[in-house]
Amino acid sequence: MTDLGIGIESVETGGRGAFRMFLRNKAAVAGLVVFTFVVLVTIFGPGIYGVEAHKMAAGPFLGPGDDAGPLLGTDYLGRDILAGVITGGRTTLFVAAVAGAMAMGLGLVVGSLAGYFGGWVDALLMRFTEIFQAMPSLLFSLVLIYLLGPGTWKETLAIGITLWALPARLTRAEFLRLREMEFVKASRAIGCSDLRIMTRTILPNAMPPLLVAATLLVVIAVLFHAGLAFLGMVDINTISWGSIMGKNKGYALTAWWTVAFPGLAIVTTGLSIALIGDGLQDAFNPKLRGR
């Protein structure tokens, strides 16, 4: 941010204040710690644990704590569940992060154009957004995968395309609210271009709710990828939390551990991100605390 002398000070304290608020929120910090742990495990875990997730490690259907088997037991082919849980996060987190960013980016472009220019641009873009909101998102991404075929990038695309309507509507609302503000009028009066006003003046002020929305989007994308993998719609050669559950679904009645632990990994990851989002929300908007 350029130095304008007065005013900038309060902006900085605002940001720092929000950060301090966030750090004082125990649940949010716990979320951040757990999420960092999950990311570190998915990156370094497989190397440290050293058991290949798709190879037979011991006999089939060994329960957790069984002396003959690994810590979290084995599935119907004798594959190590713990190795699967450690390795399975890679694909899911990668797809969720990229798909979330894709949806956020698309939503930002569509929403900011609609909110800033208003009028027929807004009407047209919002009608377009409504089309995507009318189709149930999981069904829509299933159709996209059906048409595109499986593969990590195609799955990412199929999830990203179905989730952008939410950030688009939110961005539009923020831009609609902010474009009538004094400081935006001032930028226009000194001759700033539309692009500059949108990216430099309005966007930074619209960031807080969008950051919160981004965390929610990543959680939704994690659940989406897990759901698609569970249904067997993704690349069958990649191991993910969802696919482990999908493959062991038929044995869940007797071998509960084959589905319980991969699911717990998803809940833990999703909850940690949601806690971060909740902490950001409280930090940016203390009035809403506890609601």
Partner: protein, 328 residues
């Protein structure tokens, strides 16, 4: 009254336009996808010579310009013709309608469960914002938001069906109760409980927090203070004055989330072998039954649009201030 009729007319027109746009988008997506339908159909029948391909193209209208094909497709959809399933050899719409009741029963039961208990919890905790119950709602809403509905379904099966054996594992009926009308009804609801609760709990988590936030805000407003000042009984203030406004965000969320509810129902139907539209969608994908897959997406979009329309009318009943074209 005429103004109301006109605004309803406008909303109906918008809804039809939106459905038309969905049909166009889905049609274009299918066109853009890699692969040649004629080649696929020829492959199905094991014939590959150019004359046969040309015949298939002529039979299915694939040799027509894209816009003509689109026009034909829209015309068919307008006449409620979604094509014929390549697997069943029957009209797609009939196959969907056969399974509609199962999906509506599942989604409806889940929604009722979530809204009623969610609002009750929201009202209860809004009056005690610092109570353990209130913090419980916050935690539960976050956990519920992060929990995959299909995993919850599996865990319920493991506990209630496999371990305790109190409820059926899946399906919609048990052959043992084929005889009596009463037995069949009881049997149906026994099969409905686990799927509906699995799906409903996720939304219960979201709605209880939403209801609490909304009630907290409403209970602080001036008209509530007025109602209390004039000596209205606390129960009247909360349930008659506050709830009417406090419930609006929940109704909005429930209406707007019908699409998500259907997405969740698809996963739940898959886990519980519930014979609804979602399960038909998944089996159709595995059978590469394109008319069925496309038909289900268009049909479910129509359901979402209808649900949004109904939400709009429910709004009018609850809150006469909401009008078409107003800020939302």
């Amino acid at each position: 009254m005429t103004a109301l009729a006109r605004s309803i007319g406008i909303r109906l027109g918008q809804a039809i336009g939106l459905l038309l746009a969905v049909v166009v988008i889905v049609f274009l997506l299918v066109q853009l996808a890699p692969g040649d339908a004629a080649l696929y159909l020829a492959g199905e029948q094991g014939v590959g010579d150019p004359e046969f391909l040309a015949k298939i193209r002529a039979d299915y209208g694939l040799d027509q310009p894209l816009l003509v094909q689109l026009g034909t497709y829209i015309g068919n959809v307008a006449q409620l013709d979604l094509g014929e399933s390549t697997y069943f050899g029957e009209p797609v719409l009939g196959l969907i309608l056969d399974r509609l009741l199962a999906t509506v029963a599942l989604a409806g039961a889940a929604l009722l469960f979530a809204v009623i208990i969610g609002v009750a919890l929201g009202v209860f905790t809004a009056r005690r914002p610092e109570s353990p119950a209130s913090h419980g709602v916050t935690v539960m809403s976050l956990v519920g938001f992060a929990t995959p509905v299909f995993w919850l379904s599996l865990m319920f099966i493991v506990v209630f069906a496999a371990k305790w054996g109190v409820l059926p594992v899946g399906g919609i009926e048990d052959v043992r109760y084929e005889g009596g009308w009463f037995g069949e009804t009881v049997d149906f609801f026994q099969h409905l409980v686990l799927p509906a609760v699995s799906l409903g709990i996720i939304y219960l988590a979201i709605y209880s927090r939403l209801a609490r936030a909304s009630m907290l805000e409403v209970l602080e407003s001036d008209y509530i203070r007025t109602a209390r000042a004039k000596g209205a009984h606390e129960r009247v203030v909360v349930y008659k004055h506050a709830l009417r406004n406090g419930i609006i965000p929940v109704v909005t969320a429930a209406g707007l989330q019908i699409g998500n509810l259907l997405s969740g129902a698809l996963l739940v139907e898959f886990v519980f072998a519930w014979p609804g539209i979602g399960r038909l969608m998944i089996t159709s994908i595995f059978r590469r039954d394109s008319p069925m897959v496309v038909g289900i997406v268009i049909f479910s979009a129509a359901m979402v649009i209808l649900a949004n329309l109904l939400t709009d009318f429910v709004y009018r009943l609850i809150d006469p201030r909401i009008r078409v074209g107003g800020s939302r």
